[in-house]
């Protein structure tokens, strides 16, 4: 028989879980249900006139080819951002893990960008890549590449991906580094004695042991790319040129807070919420199986 620890009275456990439940209700369930309700309304900006229009907002969305296109763009953007920031962070963490001298200095420097607000990160890259005055655009021109994210959609997409993943590298780095340091040295050393080369050691021992961290970060990064990146797009490309960087969350922000179309924006946020919930469920069901805890 399995031994179970149970509370003798109901009061204490309820008290203990209450804060979490309240926070979830106030900061997630309530706003989410508001968004759900709002998405069925057609309302003027001031909230003076409001009509219940059932699913009109959703029908309008899905009959708009531009909205459907932005799905594809979001997939490219999110996959690239998550991939790039995870890859770079893992590489840096693996390197920093082996550094003996000045490790704290390296770590502090790598963590810095996380303190930068998304919009500021965007502006930073925006200036470096500015076709007229940007230093990087100037260097690229020297190499024979005419960088112009005002006209070229691919350039613009690369710019926002770069800015978005640069900011996230620090966060991933911290977790990867902590994960790496939790791996017992003896395992790696034993493999080294058996003649395994660094890459082999990393791939067969370190990486599998790191998989819980990697999985957690994958989920967090996808959520980040889907939800948190509108500031970067807003500050760099405003979704252009010609919609080439209009990702779903930017459209939610732009239609709601700039265009003041609350119903349409709420409908988009409901769609986005559904997409992310599906993705997360999918990740937990299928990818988590490959994770060794």
């Amino acid at each position: 028989m399995e031994k179970r620890v149970v509370f003798s009275k109901l009061g204490l456990p309820i008290l203990l879980v209450a804060p979490q439940i309240v926070i979830t209700l106030v900061f997630f369930i309530w706003p989410a249900s508001q968004a759900l309700y709002q998405s069925l309304l057609l309302e003027d900006a001031f909230g003076l006139k409001s009509q219940f229009v059932w699913l009109d907002n959703f029908i309008a969305l899905f009959s708009d080819p531009h909205y459907l296109n932005s799905f594809a763009r979001t997939v490219v953007f999110s996959a690239a951002t998550a991939g790039l920031s995870l890859g770079v962070a893992l590489f840096l963490a693996a390197m920093a893990d082996r550094v003996l001298k000045g490790a704290t200095a390296y770590r502090t420097l790598i963590v810095w960008p996380y303190a930068v607000a998304p919009a500021v990160a965007g502006v930073l890259w925006f200036f470096m890549f500015n076709p007229s005055i940007g230093i990087l655009a100037y260097l690229l021109k020297g190499l024979g590449y005419d960088w112009n994210h005002y006209l070229d959609g691919t350039d613009a997409m690369m710019l926002v991906i770069l800015a978005a993943s640069w900011k996230q590298v620090s966060y991933n780095f911290l977790f990867f580094l902590a994960g790496l340091q939790a791996i017992p040295r003896s395992l790696v050393e034993a493999a080294a004695i058996d003649g395994a080369r660094p890459f082999k050691r990393f791939w067969t021992i370190v990486f599998p042991l790191l998989s819980p961290t990697a999985f957690f970060l994958l989920v967090v990064n996808i959520v980040y790319a889907f939800f948190d990146t509108f500031g970067i797009v807003h500050a760099t490309t405003s979704g252009g040129p010609a919609q080439s960087t209009t990702i779903l969350v930017y459209k939610v922000f732009n239609d709601g807070f700039i265009g003041l179309d609350l119903g349409g924006s709420a409908a988009q946020s409901v769609v986005l919420m559904a997409v992310v919930i599906t993705l997360t469920v999918f990740q937990f069901r299928y990818i988590e199986r490959k994770v060794a805890y």
């Binding site: 057609l42 900006a45 001031f46 007229s132 006209l151 252009g240 040129p241 010609a242 732009n254």
Partner: protein, 438 residues
Amino acid sequence: MKPKFLPIAVGATMAVAYAGSAMAATEIQWWHAMGGKLGEKVVEIAEGFNASQSDYKVTPVYKGNYTETMTAAIAAFRAKQQPHIVQVFEVGTASMMAAKGAIYPVYQMMADAGEAFDPKDYLASVTGYYTDTDGNMLSMPFNSSTPVLYYNKTAFEKAGIAGPPATWPEVEAAAKKAQAAGYPCGFTTGWQSWVQIENFSAWHNLSIGTKANGFAGSDTEFVFNSPDHVKHIGQLAEWQKSKVFDYGGRRSESAPKFYGQECVMYMNSSAAYAGVKANAKDFEFGVSALPHWADVGSAPQNTIIGGATLWVLQGHDAEDYKAAAKFFSYLSSAEVQADWHQFTGYLPITTAAYELTASQGFYEKNPGTDVAIQQMTGKAPTENSKGLRFGNFVQIRDIINEELEAIWGGSKSAQEGLDDAVSRGNALLRKFEAATGG
């Protein structure tokens, strides 16, 4: 038209801190979107008013750029915490006008407060944008500008170009001469929808939308895909290939192209004057009227404004509105307006302010600063050049931006892009019509 991002935290904090000391005075809140130097000027104006009398006190609060300020005011209204006065940019006009229960029309407030107010004192081309169909002024003009052509005089001399081009073919000729003299690009533009579609239309007396550009009803439809518009935009797209024209961003991001002498001509707001003056370090610059096509419409007609006005929001005491009315009288006095106009490059909103500025010899000392005002007042505005009033226009401008970028990038022809912009814009107009009850 130029968005101002720099916060004036110091000024705003001080203004808020002062608010506590003068308990006897009726205090009203003024939310504005003027950052940096302009923000300091706004604080100066409010302090000037506060010092001029002791019954009322205006507290200016910086709320971010235009869209942020408008969004903040609307959110505050929904939460019943609205300011008395809010600065709203011109494309938000239709949204504000449609919010009948939320706004207190300025002409009505001035009458209720018993404050002398004559709309005729104001420049018709400015107020035209903000009056209802019965000719009543709904908001108080504050900062208005219109697009002009800035040109690099030094480069023009080097390339042997006689003077500023008046027509588009002359722009092309000047650009090619400049390119031959080693300058990489002819001209660039800021705010492309405002300059190359909206003002292009007004300047050539062409309609942007039906129903007198939306003034006569919200059941308006866009028509800026006419052959004349297609010709102009198609020509720009053609020029983009040879860098006679070079696109540089949706707002004023193209300015460095002019400052860095990459492009020798630059079309943007007359309020960009101070910025151009500060940044044109290695060359002389001149200001001239927007170019026109001699064979299109009845050009040159007049251009339309951008910028912002002050709206009064409902839900406060009568005494508060008296304060707002007094403040508006102070704000539109010739001295305050002339000072604002000379400092910022925005248009003087009253005839008296214009005349005062002229009599002070400002235009002679600063050649080009009167181009904007002449361009706006040269002819009596027509139905096509009075302004525009379209709902959801903030979003529609984004659509126009997107389609124009597709045209400049070559993925759509001018006809396709403008057709798409018109049909997507019309969908948003219908949505606005439905949301505000027509």
